[in-house]
């Protein structure tokens, strides 16, 4: 318990609050890497998932759907730390090889949830939408995407959590961010720094949870919330 108190005291040392090894700088690093990886992930996986779910007809589409789900289940088995280390060892270490595992691991939840969300929209809804004269794009944007939104948000949240967590581990291979406090603390046997870093990461995770809960509240139609 004393160790935790030490960690809390660690927050109040003046030195933690400025300089390149200060909390504000490390936090902004962490947010920058995570934000970048998240943006790239979303840009790749979200349109693809929505589109695959929308097409859904025909043998090719169902094959794609099956592979998407299978690959997502498979991706769960990939060990983050191993991939990060391998990526850094086989390339010259820089930001890019570290970001790639972050993105690769975050794509499956976004892809699968967007795909499943759209694909599972009740056939009657699509039928009604088409029957009233919506074009394919209109069906996707006005009906399928809003109805799939709770699942889409779930996927985005999982990806965000995954990225923040992997970015923490990436400190081990030299990335900046909050993970530095943990890794450096472990190396120097300064538990207060390690635990302080861990507490910051936990707070960040809570913040993400909070943001997504808020997003769900704002973006998901009350008509969907009541039934689900």
């Amino acid at each position: 318990m004393n160790a935790i108190l030490d960690a809390i005291r660690w927050f109040f040392h003046g030195e933690q609050w400025h300089g390149t090894d200060g909390i504000p700088h490390r936090l902004s690093e962490h947010l920058w890497y995570s934000g970048l990886a998240f943006a790239i992930t979303v840009a790749i996986a979200l349109p693809l998932g929505l589109l695959l779910g929308h097409v859904r007809r025909g043998r090719a589409a169902s094959f794609f759907g099956f592979s998407v789900i299978a690959s997502a289940n498979g991706a769960r088995a990939l060990p983050t730390l191993g991939l990060l280390i391998l990526a850094v060892l086989v390339t010259s270490s820089s930001l890019v090889p570290t970001l790639i595992p972050l993105i690769v691991l975050a794509i499956p939840p976004v892809l699968v949830n967007a795909y499943t969300g759209v694909q599972q929209v009740e056939p009657g809804l699509r039928d009604a939408a088409e029957g009233m004269g919506m074009t394919g794009t209109q069906v996707l944007w006005r009906v399928e995407a809003p109805v799939a939104l709770p699942l889409v948000l779930l996927g985005l949240r999982t990806a965000a959590i995954q990225i923040v967590s992997t970015a923490t581990i990436a400190a081990y291979v030299g990335l900046g961010g909050l993970g530095r406090f943990i890794v450096d603390g472990l190396k120097r046997q300064e538990y207060s720094s390690t635990a302080g870093g861990a507490i910051l990461v936990i707070l960040l995770a809570f913040l993400i949870q909070f943001v997504f809960a808020l997003l769900r509240r704002v973006a998901v139609s009350p008509g969907l919330r009541r039934t689900s």
């Binding site: 039928d127 009604a128 088409e130 009233m132 004269g133 809003p146 939104l149 969907l224 009541r226």
Partner: protein, 282 residues
């Protein structure tokens, strides 16, 4: 008027859903397509708004071949009501009703005002306007479905078993109100059902389909009950006993309708301007 000429729908696996169909559906009337499941009645209905394209043959609406019209445009001019209503769960009732006017880029405020009028017209309390579909009963949802199909005032309405998901009492009410509404609006309605009672009650003309997509008989309810074309039709009507029962029910309905007319003199309402415009455009 909707005309089918030599229309056949054959699926890639060889199943024939509709076989060489010739059918004329009168304007301003309710035409009921009835038959057992797998008889092609729903396929026939869905070919009218090109949800399904026929393998061969021609379908015209008011003389115009529907293949010449882009499907989304065609569909915006044809009302469409399906079983379970197919309401959008994420939109309020009023926005559900105004779907097609929005698609046609009509003025939002006007579309909403019209949606509120339609709610009253189909017997819905306008206090429900801001609710979501999940908060409504099955019968109320079907009314919203009908109001939504009417929103852009299309001259033609396609209705696929619109009342079969609700309990018999609510179904009876919905049918009665539907007849009242139709007597005011005089839309060209194609109505699919598997329920012969419903067909006899609602239809000006009834098309009986048999399995394999063959039209067995196309007649008014009176003709149908008086002269079933073949054994299939006779059986479908429930044999001699069934025919007697249907005649009896038909008389009761007629009496009830007459009483309603006597009690509430229908205002002779001029057809709404929008309808004429929409018809002219087609």
């Amino acid at each position: 008027m909707i005309t089918f000429t030599g229309v056949t729908k054959r699926y890639p696996d060889g199943t024939v859903a509709v076989h060489d169909l010739d059918l004329e559906i009168a304007a301003g009337r309710i035409t009921v397509l009835v038959g057992p499941s797998g008889c092609g009645k729903t396929t026939t209905l869905r070919m009218v708004n090109r949800m399904i394209d026929p393998t061969s043959g021609t379908i015209t609406v008011d003389g115009r071949d529907i293949r010449e019209v882009d499907p989304p445009r065609l569909r915006r001019g044809i009302g469409y009501v399906i079983q379970q209503a197919g309401l959008f769960p994420h939109r309020t009732i009023i926005d559900n009703i105004a779907t097609v006017p929005y698609l046609l880029h009509q003025d939002k405020k006007q579309a909403r005002t019209r949606a509120l009028e339609l709610m009253e017209r189909v017997g819905l309390d306008t206090a429900l306007a801001k609710r979501y579909p999940a908060q409504l009963s099955g019968g109320q949802q079907q009314r919203v479905g009908v109001a939504r199909a009417l929103a852009a005032d299309p001259p033609v309405m396609l209705m696929d078993e619109p009342f079969s998901a609700v309990d018999p009492i609510v179904r009876g009410q919905l049918q009665d109100e539907f007849l009242r509404l139709q007597s005011e609006l005089e839309k060209t309605i194609v109505f699919v059902t598997h329920d012969i009672d419903e067909a006899v009650k609602l239809g000006h003309r009834i098309a009986v389909f048999q399995v394999g997509g063959v039209l067995a008989q196309y007649a008014t309810p009176d003709e149908l009950l008086a002269n079933p074309a073949n054994d299939f039709v006779r059986d479908f009507l429930g044999g001699d006993r069934g025919i007697r029962r249907l005649r009896f029910v038909q008389e009761l309905d007629a009496e009830a309708a007459a009483e309603r007319r006597a009690a509430v003199p229908e205002p002779a309402e001029p057809p709404p301007g929008g309808e004429a415009a929409a018809a002219g455009e087609r």
